[in-house]
């Protein structure tokens, strides 16, 4: 754990493995991307009228959007497309978009190279926005703690009913009922 935060080698996981781990929402995969890509994003944001907090913010958004695209099957492994470069491109694009919408004087127009750049750029537009992610997330956080826990264990950690029963100390049958009730509540919020 300690070493992977520091070592250069931590960025050398084969792309296919990294891709699969990202898809599973694996923490280590996010850590690897953070290490390999954040320095570039930070440099870019700092060079374009941003602060370190902005870089951090835009980077987290970018990772979520990347995960979402992988999850929806919009971004697939391709020869010659590195995940970290793609993430970095998402972040740069989003930062420019943000500057544009804030009507920043120095950077009012999108540089040409974004229009011309290789395939994949067209996808940047229909990626999920920060606001959309927040809207989804807010709905989830309107649920009670127990609902949040059960739903996360079942749908994100992919645990079985029996495992959830063990973790929560509930009966398996009540876990099932709770899960049903919680999902119904969540759906009503949409």
């Amino acid at each position: 754990m300690i070493r992977s935060l520091f070592s250069k080698q931590a960025t050398e996981l084969p792309e296919a493995v990294l891709f699969q781990r990202l898809k599973d929402g694996n923490e280590q995969a996010f850590r690897i991307l953070y290490k390999s890509t954040f320095p570039y994003v930070k440099q870019y944001v700092l060079a374009n009228n941003g602060k370190e907090e902005d870089a951090e913010d835009i980077f987290q958004d970018g990772m979520i959007a990347l995960w979402d695209n992988i999850n929806l099957g919009k971004f697939e492994m391709r020869e010659g497309v590195k995940i970290s470069s793609y993430l970095s491109k998402i972040c740069r694009y989003r930062w420019l978009e943000r500057l544009k919408s804030a009507g920043h004087k120095k950077m009012a127009t999108m540089p040409d190279h974004f229009e011309k750049e290789d395939e994949g750029t067209d996808m940047l537009n229909d990626m999920i926005s920060k606001e959309e992610v927040n809207a989804f997330e807010d709905k989830f956080y309107q649920l009670g703690d127990r609902c949040q826990l059960i739903l996360k264990l079942f749908y994100y950690e992919k645990k079985s009913m029996a495992e959830i029963a063990e973790i929560t100390g509930m009966q398996a049958a009540s876990v099932k009922n709770e899960k049903y009730r919680c999902m119904e509540r969540l759906k009503k919020l949409f």
Binding site: A10, G25, K152, F154, M183, F190
Partner: protein, 246 residues
């Protein structure tokens, strides 16, 4: 309604048989109300996933910030003092229970092989293999074991099958059996061969043979093409704090 929710979840988790899955997909195409309900269900899951993913990502980012503040020197100092503490502890308990130390190391190094995706469209897996994999993922090892052994008679040549059968034994604590299966796979120059190697060293560790475990894990940590290289490096950090390192 309740039946639909279960059905949706089974479909998403890849727990339907081929026929059920095809029926499901056909119904999605023809029945608009069913499709609308399914979309709603997926939307709700997306909300759950976003919340979970965001937590993970911000944890990673907080970790990175913190480690930057402490700096490498500080961390080495902390690690050194932990090592001292553990060393003192080991020294006092060593004569009583030497294995306790490795048990803890094992517990923090070990992770379960997540298994293969069982979602629809994974044509290379037979339906039976899919069912076995689902049982394995849900930690229903006894039934996974029965299915796996029956399957092995049918497909004795399948590395994937042998490997997951080994994982089932391993998770159940049948280390000898797991070791036999993994030893046969270890020399393969495939991800399965590499994974087998890793779990063999974990079995060594579990048995308290920490010298063997440590030298094996070291060799993985040096191998740039090894899929568990990072895990091996992390494991070495843990092992260095035990008296294995002496």
């Amino acid at each position: 309604m309740e039946t639909h929710m279960d059905l949706f979840d089974q479909y998403i988790r890849g727990e339907l048989s081929r026929v059920e899955r095809e029926n499901f997909e056909r119904r999605l195409e023809s029945d608009t109300e069913f499709r609308r309900e399914f979309e709603q269900h997926k939307n709700a899951i997306r909300a759950i996933e976003f919340a979970a993913i965001k937590e993970k990502i911000s944890k990673v980012s907080v970790e990175a910030q913190r480690s930057k503040m402490i700096g490498r020197k500080g961390l080495i100092a902390i690690a050194a003092s932990i090592a001292l503490l553990i060393g003192a502890y080991v020294y006092t308990i060593n004569t009583v229970e030497p294995a306790a130390n490795y048990e803890n190391a094992f517990a923090s190094i070990h992770f379960k092989d997540p298994g293969l995706p069982t979602l629809m469209g994974h044509e290379s897996l037979s339906q039976e293999m899919n069912t076995m994999m689902t049982a394995y993922k849900q930690s229903k090892y006894q039934s996974a074991l029965e299915m796996g052994e029956a399957l092995l008679e049918k497909y004795p040549e399948s590395d994937t099958l042998q490997y997951y059968l080994a994982m089932i034994h391993y998770e159940m604590g049948y280390h000898d059996k797991a070791e036999d299966l993994l030893t046969a796979l270890e020399s393969r120059e495939t991800p399965i061969g590499q994974k087998s190697e890793w779990y063999l060293y974990l079995i060594d560790l579990k048995r308290g043979d920490c010298q063997a475990a440590m030298s094996g894990i070291k060799s993985i940590a040096k191998d740039k093409s090894h899929i568990f290289r990072i895990e091996a490096m992390d494991a070495l950090d843990v092992l260095e704090l035990t008296n294995c390192a002496q």
